[in-house]
Amino acid sequence: MGAIYILWLRELRRYVRSRAQILASLGQPLLYLIALGFGLGPVFQSSGNGSYLQFLAPGVIGMGVLFTSIFSGMGLLWDRQFGFLKETMVAPVPRLSIVVGKTLGGVTIALMQGTLIVVVCLVVGFRPTHWTSVPTAFGYMALIALVFAGLGTAIGSKLQDFQAFQLIMNFLVLPIFFLSGALFPLDHLPKFMGVITDVDPLAYGIDGLRGSLIGRTHFGLLTDMAVLCTVAVVFLSVGSYFFSQIEV
């Protein structure tokens, strides 16, 4: 228990201390909301889809949670590079408690980041249709965070250096975001796009967020939850397994 707690606390301390980084990480969502929300708003509206800002906000929240959680998992890469990983590898605690603490820490900071982005959305003019379903939205944020903290841990355990980082960013993280339906509705997509979005776990996360915040869903809230839970279990297991195999 102690190990889980202290590694969770470590993630939190590192996050809270990186104020400049937090501020910087709010710039991107803000840019999306303003440039796309207001820029594409009129086109979106005239095609009979309603307010684009309302539609986009859950996608941008999901993006923030995705990035924070996956990079928190991949923080292992930094821990390896700067040596801290060895300190945990020789400690007399099961590897599983280390990975659990780290993951819970990642989920916590992803939720904090998500909350900040919710505030940014509200400032820009986004309004949830039912305030009562905001807690449900936090549930979906937590599920997204679990899924991608697990994936991040799996990747971070396997990568040996920073060189592959850009590759992961461009061929995994960004496609996960752009093909999740964060920016566009999933209805009436070309067939191949439909297939891709169907296998993108983030699509279910964003759909869940959108369902709870503005009452509009593509897959249905229950399907979203079932898929996210399943993928979370798979990714977290794979991540923990890879982590247990690390050699220093």
């Binding site: 202290i6 590192r14 040596g83 801290f84 300190e87 400690a91 007399p92 050699e247």
Partner: protein, 261 residues
């Protein structure tokens, strides 16, 4: 106490450690010397549960690192060749993290943190993030951290690498004092022969995975009819440079590792 018998580690066809045996009694400062790629780090990894021996026996305080991993880990502290602190956390937080990972009771942890940070002259800076520390301060903090859980054995893998003479001098003074006050066994590797000569009671020299000589600094000098330990070391291991063979050995290890994944 450390007891090693016929210890072997092979990576594919490469024999990194070739049937070495030695004993380090409790409370001794023991230096393990050798050229690059001689097998020092591989040996330390096997002693500290990080690597599984191919064959042979290791006993750490009467326990087997392979089968009683966590028990063994509680009994030693280790300072690695490269840094292993969290630079974003403060000195105090690094100590806290270590103390909790090693199940040190809260009160004891607070007491010992204060005692050790004071002993290593870091107490005034305890609230500062480690990234603002100098190289020497970081090393001192690593040693203080390694001692927090009152280990019986302290492994120091080239702890003075990259430090200036002042920091090195100060560090060994601290280590010697802790060895005397706490009776902790010290197992160290270094490339600075004068350091080994000064602090170690006994020395083993390893080359090409084999121990080529063992004894007190005096005995080694006598055995090779040398004036200094440096000369004795060169007499025992030859004066050709090992970087290249070490490089290919490392490549081989990487290659084997790659295939095992």
């Amino acid at each position: 106490m450390i007891r090693v018998r016929n210890l072997v580690k092979t990576f594919g066809d490469v024999v990194a450690v070739n049937s070495i045996s030695f004993e380090v009694p409790q409370g001794e400062i023991f230096a393990f010397l050798g050229p690059n790629g001689a097998g020092k780090t591989t040996t330390i990894k096997m002693l500290t549960t990080l690597l599984r021996p191919t064959s042979g026996d290791v006993e750490i305080d009467g326990l087997d690192p392979q089968h009683q991993q966590h028990e063994v880990r509680r009994r030693f502290g280790i300072v690695f060749q490269d840094p292993s602190l969290d630079a974003d956390l403060t000195a105090e937080e690094n100590m806290e993290l270590h103390g909790i990972l090693y199940h040190v009771p809260h009160r004891l942890r607070i007491e010992r943190t204060e005692q050790l940070l004071k002993a290593f002259e870091l107490w005034e800076r305890r609230k500062e993030p480690v990234k603002r520390f100098s190289g020497g301060m970081k090393r001192r903090l690593e040693i203080a951290r390694g001692l927090l859980h009152t280990p019986k054995i302290l492994f120091l893998d080239e702890p003075t690498l990259g430090l200036d003479p002042q920091s090195r001098n100060q560090m060994w003074t601290h280590v010697k004092r802790l060895n005397e006050t706490e009776g902790v066994t010290v197992f160290l590797t270094t490339h600075y022969m004068d350091e080994a000569d000064r602090v170690a009671q006994r020395i083993a020299i390893i080359d090409h995975g084999r121990i080529v000589a063992q004894g007190s600094p005096g005995e080694l000098k006598e055995q090779t009819k040398s004036d200094s330990l440096e000369q004795a070391f060169l007499a025992l291991t030859g004066s050709s440079i090992r970087d290249e063979s070490a490089g290919s050995l490392d490549q081989m290890r990487q290659f084997v590792k790659g295939w095992r994944r």
